[in-house]
Structures are given as structure tokens and as C-alpha cells.
């Protein structure tokens, strides 16, 4: 009992610097933001009223949810395929898959966003190629719109979607798959009616993580959206720095944080934190 207590004391002491840092750098300023949302420019719920009635704010929220939903579906589907190879492939396939999953972590988000601009712009690689082979005559608008934002965000988020999926695939009992095949089920059918349903918790965890990340994206939409496809985080930035309305910016922030908080609570009902790394 004593050893247990001192272990817990030790753990608390080791975590203390991080907790103090988080309190000072995030919690305390956030209370300041909450305070602004109720007091700027005058005390009251006025900014929350604006938030509910302003068509611009609403359209940005709806766009954010739409983009986050599309990015979630595409990222999880792509991550699922990569994870199957990573967890169940031959040793050589595993190495390649692992490389594909880890490399994006070493390249900054800015570099990747500009990389996509270079690939997708009117005179970028894709349009040049497609015109060269005569597939299109006029360049396609692939960037500075929602499409560009979705491509960039999906690319960034796929690796994060991999880990919960990998965890659920690793814990799956191979004999159940053998049993399905032994009972006459084709490989395809075994995959869809046994393998996929058995990794359900991984799919939910993966989707929630990607969705939560997507809601707060700033750099990628700012660069690939080119100001035309504004998401919530960029709207907050604009309200604070360009058309100063700190109260509205703060109210939007509070709503975003509450929404993300609710999703995180949902996430941890399905996934243990250990499974996310």
C-alpha cells in the first residue's frame, strides 16, 4: 500500500511540470478567451447571438463540418487499406507501408501545403500533365478551393488514422478468419463480413480523431483554400487580426472547444489512449 502510494506520488511529481505548463499556457489563457466572449465589446450574450444569426459565421461552420466529414471518410478509407498492408502484409510490404506512414511526420505541414499548391495549381504538375496527354484543354481548378483543402488535409491526416486501426487489427484472432474461410466464405466475403466488422472500434476511433483534428485545421485550409474556402480556425484568426472583433472570435473559439471536447469524450468511450500512438 505504501509502495503504491509513493508510486502515485512519484507519477504525480513527474507529470507536474507538464500539468503546470498546460495550466499556464492553455487553461489560463482559455479562461481569458471565455471572458472576452462574454464581455467584448459589452457584457452579455450578444456575441453568441451574433454567432447564431450571422450567415457568414454559419456558412463557415457548415463548410468546416462538411470538409471535416469528407476528409474523415477519405482518410479513414485510405488509412484502412494502408493499415491492412502494414499489419497483415508480407515483411517487405510492411516495411514499405511503415515508411509511407512515418515519412509524412518528418515534413512540416507548411512544406506539404505548398507542395500541394505546386502540384495542383493551374500551371502545376497535374494540369501540365493532363494537358500534355490531351486529356483536358483548359486547366482544372484544383487548388484555392474546397477540393485543394480536402486533398491537403487528407494527406496530412491519413497517418493519424492508421494507429487506432492498426491496434484493432493486431488484436484480431486469426483463427476467426480461418474459421470463416473454412466455412466456405471467399476471401472477399471474409474481409467484408468478418474482418471489417471486427475492427469496428478501430474505425470509430480513427474517424473521431481525424474529424476532431479537421475541425481545428488552420495552415492547410489557409494556404490551399486561398481565402475562398475559409474554415473555423481561419475565421477566428480573421476576427482577431484583420477585422478586429475579439468578442466574436472568442465566442467562436469557445463553441469550437466545447464541440471538440464533446467529441473527445465520445472518442475515449471507444478507444483507450494507448491505442492512438
Amino acid at each position: 500500500m505504501k509502495a503504491y502510494l509513493s508510486d502515485r506520488m512519484g507519477a504525480a511529481l513527474l507529470m507536474a511540470p507538464l500539468l503546470l505548463f498546460l495550466a499556464a499556457a492553455y487553461a489560463w489563457p482559455f479562461f481569458g478567451v471565455v471572458n472576452w466572449s462574454f464581455t467584448l465589446p459589452e457584457p452579455g450574450l450578444g456575441q453568441y447571438g451574433t454567432l447564431l444569426s450571422d450567415p457568414l459565421v454559419q456558412s463557415v461552420f457548415i463548410r468546416t463540418l462538411r470538409i471535416a466529414a469528407i476528409v474523415t471518410i477519405v482518410s479513414v478509407a485510405a488509412a484502412y487499406a494502408i493499415t491492412v498492408v502494414w499489419v497483415r502484409g508480407t515483411p517487405a510490404q510492411r516495411v514499405v507501408a511503415e515508411f509511407c506512414i512515418l515519412v509524412p511526420f518528418w515534413i512540416s505541414v507548411l512544406t506539404r501545403a505548398f507542395g500541394w499548391v505546386a502540384l495542383l495549381s493551374n500551371r502545376g504538375l497535374f494540369n501540365t500533365w493532363l494537358q500534355a496527354i490531351g486529356f483536358i484543354s483548359e486547366p482544372l481548378t484544383l487548388v484555392r478551393n474546397e477540393f485543394g483543402v480536402i486533398v491537403g488535409m487528407t494527406h496530412f491526416l491519413i497517418p493519424f488514422a492508421v494507429f487506432p486501426l492498426a491496434s484493432s487489427m493486431r488484436s484480431l484472432d486469426d483463427r476467426v478468419l480461418l474459421a470463416a474461410r473454412g466455412l466456405g466464405s471467399s476471401r472477399m466475403r471474409t474481409f467484408w463480413s468478418v474482418f471489417v466488422p471486427m475492427t469496428r472500434s478501430g474505425i470509430i476511433g480513427s474517424a473521431l480523431i481525424v474529424f476532431v483534428f479537421s475541425l481545428g485545421f488552420f495552415v492547410t485550409p489557409a494556404i490551399l483554400g486561398g481565402g475562398r474556402s475559409v474554415m473555423v480556425a481561419e475565421l477566428i484568426y480573421l476576427r482577431i487580426f484583420q477585422s478586429p472583433d475579439w468578442g466574436l472570435g472568442a465566442a467562436i473559439s469557445v463553441v469550437l472547444v466545447l464541440f471538440v471536447g464533446a467529441l473527445m469524450a465520445l472518442l475515449f468511450r471507444y478507444v483507450r489512449p494507448k491505442q492512438l500512438i
Binding site: R175, V176, G182, S185
Partner: protein, 364 residues
């Protein structure tokens, strides 16, 4: 392995399997008869499970051919063989209800909804799972999960049912119950059963024939009493139960048996015990030996001294040492054991001539 409802007849010819340099199974030739209950018995790593996986189609043999009802199925994939299979740990679909688990093999065969409903209902009734149809496997006890696994493997009327140590996770009482259940299912369905176990009493109790494996080799196949009473070699003799072994000299064949010298007494063997050399090992199961104050002339017997006894309830196990130092174990009625130990001096061990058998001297 063929059209449903008919038991399959399987022929394995020269089957071998290597994993790298490890020879898991070597030159196995075995006929499995239509509707028989064959047990593959052996210690872990003996090749019995590898052979079962080859029968199921999950493992490709490196040599040999496999036939089902005369058709070569060596290269046929598992899903097209569709042998019913019950795995160690059951391998139920955790996300499906009992009903859906049992319906699965019928669904992949695209049976009509009405037929699926009828056959699943019959199967649930047959294995005694009525009232549990909607439950998930995680809500069932071990014995109930076992029944679901059996029902799922039998519902599509496979030609052969393969069972990989299905009872290893059950406690002793439940095990006996499930064994009886399985015997009944075998009788009712008439399907060929191939059952893997490392438990020799289970093998002897259930099967019509037992195939004993060791180090990747099939050592002997035969009816339970045949392999128990006339094991082909020392490994089989020891694996199937306790056995007393005594050196035998001057062995020669006689009418309907053999004779030899054991500790200077002439021993007679009857039945198909045949001499294989002038020296051999005389083997007798403990339960066939009895204790007597004297051995009559012409009766098999050797003198021994009791050194220890273990009370087993129904009987007593006596450990004895012969004059030349060989150790012998017998199982005797409790009061006989008490008197044998009480005297502390020499007794005679006797046994009927047809209960002894010969094993090659020093060989495996």
C-alpha cells in the same frame, strides 16, 4: 468435401510438410473411412495439428496427395473444401449473434432465407441452445460457445468435421458432458469426424480409431483396444497409459504366441505377440497384473517386493521392485495392497498370458 449430407472418405498418400528445415509431418499415408470417428493423438509438435490443417486446406503439404471420395483435393482452397471445422478457442464471430454465427455457412452458400431459418432452428435445437439465439458469443459460457462452434460447423452438412482440441479450455465435468454430446452428434449426423487431442483417455473414449503421432510421424493406427493392448512400439505403449516393462531373454516363437525368460522364469505370451529377436521387452499394463502369494507352475509370474503404495480410493497403486531391480507398478484392490505391504517380504506378480506383449529391445 463433397455434396452435403454424405460422409466423406479421405485418403492421404505420402503427405509431408516442412517449415524451413523443420519437418513437421513426414510421409503420412492414412485412409479415413466414411463416417468414422478418427482421433489424431500425440504430444504437442507431433504433427497431428499440421495434418488437420492440411485436411482443412489451411496448410499446403510439401509432398503427397490428398483425396476426398477419390477426387484429388490437394490444391483445392479451404473455402471450396468446406470441411466443417471447430477450432481450439472456438473462433466464433464475436460481432454476430448465436443465430448469425450458425447461419453464416448457409448464407455464404446463398441458401434461401426460409431454408436458413429452418436449418439454423433445427441445429440450435439439436445442440440445446434454445433461448440463446440472440446472444453474442461473449455472453455465453464456455460450454455454450463450444455448442455454437459445433452447430456452425455441422449446419451445412459437411462431409467431414475437423476438430482441433475443442475441449482443452473446458473444466473436467463439462468436458465429459461435451464428449458425450459429440459422440451423439457423430451418431446422428453420420459424418466423418477427425478429432485432434493430446489427451489419451479422451482419444480412447471417443474414437472408432486412434492415430498416434510423434515427431511428425504416424506411428500406429487402430481401434482403441487394439492400440492400447497391442501398441506397435514403446512410445505408443507409454503414451496411451502406464506400462510395466521387463527385459526378456531367449525369446522364441511358440504355438500361438512366444516364450522367453524373465528373471529366470519362463514367461508365456499368447495372441499375436511375435519374437523379433532373442532379446525383447515384455510389456504389461498395471491393471492386468495381480498379486499372489505363489505363482503356480506354468503361470506367468515374477517375485517382487512392495516398496510404496498410493491410495486412489477405488484401488491402491503399489510400487514394487523385482529381485533384479526392475520397477513395476500395479493397481490392486485396497485390502490386497495392505496385506502385501504389511508383510514387507516377497510377493508374486502374475498376469494372464494374453495380456503381455513384446516391444523391440531398446528401440523406440
Amino acid at each position: 468435401m463433397q455434396q452435403p449430407g454424405r460422409a466423406a472418405e479421405i485418403k492421404a498418400i505420402g503427405i509431408g510438410k516442412s517449415f524451413g528445415s523443420f519437418r513437421a509431418l513426414d510421409n503420412l499415408t492414412l485412409d479415413i473411412g466414411r463416417g468414422e470417428f478418427l482421433t489424431l493423438l500425440g504430444p504437442s509438435g507431433s504433427g497431428k495439428t499440421t495434418f488437420l490443417m492440411i485436411l482443412a486446406g489451411f496448410v499446403q503439404p510439401t509432398d503427397g496427395r490428398l483425396f476426398s471420395d477419390g477426387v484429388d483435393i490437394t490444391e483445392r482452397p479451404a473455402e471450396q473444401r468446406a470441411a466443417g471445422m471447430v477450432f481450439q478457442g472456438y473462433a466464433l464471430f464475436p460481432h454476430m449473434s448465436v443465430e448469425a454465427n450458425i447461419a453464416f455457412p448457409l448464407k455464404v452458400r446463398k441458401k434461401s432465407a426460409a431454408e436458413i431459418k429452418r436449418r439454423v432452428g433445427e441445429m440450435i435445437e439439436r445442440v440445446g441452445l434454445k433461448g440463446h439465439e440472440k446472444k453474442l458469443p461473449s455472453q455465453l459460457s464456455g460450454g455454450q460457445q463450444q455448442r455454437v462452434a459445433l452447430a456452425r460447423a455441422l449446419v451445412f452438412e459437411p462431409g467431414v468435421l475437423l476438430l482441433d482440441e475443442p475441449f482443452s479450455a473446458l473444466d473436467k465435468g463439462l468436458r465429459g458432458q461435451m464428449q458425450a454430446e459429440m459422440k451423439r452428434l457423430h451418431h446422428e449426423t453420420g459424418t466423418t469426424f477427425v478429432f485432434v487431442t493430446h489427451d489419451q483417455s479422451e482419444a480412447l473414449a471417443l474414437s472408432s480409431r486412434v492415430a498416434i503421432f510423434n515427431h511428425g510421424k504416424l506411428l500406429q493406427v487402430g481401434a482403441p483396444d487394439e492400440v492400447y493392448d497391442r501398441p506397435a512400439n514403446r512410445f505408443v505403449a507409454e503414451f496411451l497409459g502406464e506400462i510395466n516393462m521387463l527385459p526378456l531373454k531367449n525369446v522364441r516363437n511358440a504355438d500361438n504366441g512366444a516364450t522367453g525368460l524373465c528373471e529366470d522364469r519362463t514367461i508365456t505370451l499368447r495372441g499375436n505377440a511375435r519374437a523379433v529377436g532373442s532379446n525383447a521387452i515384455l510389456a504389461i499394463r498395471p491393471e492386468y497384473m495381480s498379486i499372489a502369494p505363489e505363482a503356480a507352475a506354468g503361470e506367468n509370474g515374477i517375485a517382487a517386493t512392495a516398496v510404496a503404495s498410493t491410495y486412489l480410493g477405488a484401488a491402491t497403486r503399489l510400487d514394487l521392485t523385482t529381485r533384479q531391480g526392475a520397477k513395476v507398478t500395479v493397481s490392486v484392490p485396497n485390502e490386497v495392497a495392505a496385506s502385501a505391504l504389511g508383510k514387507g517380504n516377497s510377493v508374486w506378480l502374475t498376469w494372464p498370458a494374453e495380456k503381455g506383449f513384446l516391444l523391440p529391445d531398446g528401440g523406440q
